[in-house]
């Protein structure tokens, strides 16, 4: 497939407004605001394109816009979610740093479609460069009359600001983001009411991901039908950015038609070019840390789109594909992912605040050879008490994905850990620490490894 979203990435001065204009940039905006396309027509066009949210949930964008109250007396806000924090995801960083005007044009068009006068790009605090680049690009857009009062001489006025976060994964959840933008702790809200009705500052609000908004200028320029024809079927349309990382030869962001085969992404010459060192695939996380792991047999015939990955019992999420080879200790991987979730839980719901550190603690002691046979069932029990509507947001459901799916699919490896007190594969497989050996010969009552500090985690570096 031809490059669409990444077309300008890697070209000289791709960040400047001059090159963007030369490449046909802001033509879509001109076409819409001066060509007499109404907000309703633009929303209809986005609906027809089949565009689904690229942030993780895959909700149809045009339908989301349609949830806004029709004759709101309150101002409407558009928030561009650039809080990209899902482990394994790095596509939005690329879009913002390399082609900021594409994102900005997408924001302006979408703001026009939902009759919003003030939009914010909520960007994660770590993206210092991204924020600086966007700030400069926004300044350029104001100077050319694409933003501000009376855009291109019309009655439309839109202001756009960059708002920096300060280090909190949960602010990527849309109501957490809204709370954070209001100057509070980023703790998600109970829904309903949904943001479209009661969002930021109590006003109707739409939150869309960076990549989602970057698609909009292309839909305007080339038509909804063109967009809808790209992809595996009418429910999974458009070009898609895939982030692949882990033990592959060529990690990176790749653009393909929605529904690219997972195997092609890992092994294809145009993509990741296979496994590093010719090792075998052991497990693949297809949609960021929050997605269930897939085993090597499961990656056969797995189209990377919302419904294709869902059919495999996982999710496309933010399309962050993390590949682990046969030498990866699955318990160690699950422990690492659980550490992330226990660190990032916002703390307002008990099952999540208490459950996530417990998952980490139990996984840590299993990995360190201090696990008990009943710990494997214990993991499952903790998971089942955390998710499925026990909490305000879906963070807890995400947090249980790595332990629950890995216990289910690699149970023998967990049992090997608790019985043999060591890893089944990887650099630590042959090692039996004297401590663990003594415990194996002596009492089965291991002590709980509480508050493990990284200092007692042995070296497990592999390159």
């Amino acid at each position: 497939m031809e490059r669409v979203l990444l077309k300008r990435v890697g070209t000289p001065n791709s960040r400047s407004i001059e090159t963007y204009l030369k490449d046909g940039g802001y033509e879509a905006l001109r076409k819409v605001v001066t060509g007499g396309m109404t907000p309703e027509q633009l929303t209809e066009e986005v609906k027809k394109s089949g565009l689904r949210g690229r942030g993780g949930a895959g909700f149809p964008t045009g339908v989301k816009w349609g949830f806004l109250p029709k004759d709101s007396k309150k101002p409407i806000y558009l928030l561009c979610n650039a809080d990209e924090s899902e482990p394994g995801t790095f596509k939005d960083r690329l879009l913002m740093e390399e082609d900021p005007h594409q994102v900005i044009e997408g924001v302006i068009l979408s703001a026009y479609a939902i009759k919003c006068k003030t939009a914010y790009i909520y960007i994660r605090g770590e993206f210092y460069d991204g924020a600086r680049i966007l700030d400069k690009a926004i300044e350029e857009a104001y100077a050319k009359g694409f933003l501000g009062k009376d855009i291109l001489g019309t009655q439309t006025s839109i202001d756009l600001y960059v708002h920096r976060g300060a280090g909190a994964y949960i602010c990527g959840e849309e109501t957490g983001l809204i709370e954070s933008l209001e100057g509070k702790r980023g703790q998600p809200r109970i829904k309903p009411p949904f943001p479209a009705v009661h969002g930021v500052f109590g006003c109707p609000t739409i939150v869309n991901n960076v990549e989602t908004l970057a698609c909009v200028p292309h839909i305007v320029n080339r038509g909804a039908e063109w967009f809808a024809k790209i992809g595996r079927n009418e429910k999974n349309t458009g070009p898609k950015l895939y982030c692949i990382s882990g033990q592959v030869n060529r990690p990176g962001v790749y653009e393909a038609a929605m529904g690219l085969q997972l195997k092609d992404l890992i092994f294809g010459q145009d993509y990741a070019q296979g496994m590093k060192g010719g090792r075998k695939v052991k497990a693949v996380i297809p949609g960021g840390a929050s997605a269930n792991m897939l085993t090597a047999p499961e990656i056969e015939d797995c189209p990377l789109d919302f419904d294709g990955v869902a059919a495999k019992g996982s999710m496309l999420g933010s399309a962050a594909i993390i590949v682990m080879n046969e030498d990866t200790c699955i318990v160690d991987a699950a422990r690492n992912l659980s550490k992330f979730f226990s660190h990032e839980s916002c703390g307002q719901c008990t099952p999540c605040r208490e459950g996530t550190p417990w998952l980490y603690t139990v996984l840590h002691r299993i990995e360190e050879g201090q696990g008990r046979v009943e710990d494997v069932d214990l993991l499952e029990r903790i998971c089942n008490q955390m998710a499925n509507g026990m909490t305000i947001c879906v963070f807890a459901d995400a947090a249980i994905a790595p332990p629950l799916s890995s216990v289910k699919k690699f149970r023998d490896e967990y049992l090997h850990h608790v019985e043999q007190k060591r890893c089944m594969v990887g650099p630590k497989a042959a090692l039996v620490s004297s401590e663990a050996a003594a415990r194996r010969g002596g009492t089965r009552e291991g002590t709980v490894a509480n508050a493990p500090s990284p200092s007692n985690q042995p070296e497990s570096a592999r390159t």
Binding site: P87, Y169, R185, I285, N336, P454
Partner: protein
């Protein structure tokens, strides 16, 4: 992870923003319909002004934005990027999330610990380096990834890290 993250240290002296910082705050306030919404950006201005955010700085921010100091405290301790005590000149932030972990991020952390004889969240005696682990910083394709202050260094390995630390140590 560390309880020091939840305690805002005192500077021992009052904090007043310099005029250029106050001008920035004025600009920021114009962007939002409420003063409270300016809290995160204004805290960033405070951090850029003093390098960290003391109890006194937080109280000054609360005064300017007409917020209860307890609200500012709650926000400060929620977000990990606000420094609640002074840090070294170079804040070493090593990503240890899954893709970087698979690529050997643990080795980078150990390298720093051994070289500087400091633990995580600690600062070297000469005040040059503070070491922290961070969660995914979206550098997974160039793993292991790390940041020093606001700059990315990726992909990293122990040799490159050693060279980088040599260079930063030599700087005045």
């Amino acid at each position: 992870m560390s309880h020091t993250r939840y305690r805002v240290a005192e500077a021992g002296e009052p904090r007043k923003f310099p005029p250029e910082a106050l001008a920035r705050i004025d600009t920021i306030l114009k962007r939002y319909p409420t003063k409270q919404a300016a809290l995160l950006p204004v805290l960033w201005v405070a951090q850029e002004t003093w390098g960290w955010i003391s109890k006194e700085a937080a109280e000054e921010v609360a005064r300017i934005l007409e917020l209860p100091p307890s609200h500012v405290d709650g926000v400060l301790t929620f977000y990990t990027m606000y420094n609640l005590r002074p840090t070294g000149k170079h804040l070493l932030q090593i990503c240890t999330s899954i893709s970087c972990h698979l690529a050997g991020a643990r080795g980078l952390v150990e390298h720093c610990r051994k070289r500087f004889k400091i633990d995580l969240e600690e600062t070297t005696r000469d005040g040059k380096f503070t070491l922290v682990e961070v969660e995914c910083i979206a550098g997974c394709d160039r793993a292991p990834s790390m940041m020093v202050n606001d700059k990315y260094y990726e992909p990293m390995d122990e040799k490159k890290l050693s060279t980088l630390l040599d260079r930063l140590s030599g700087e005045a």
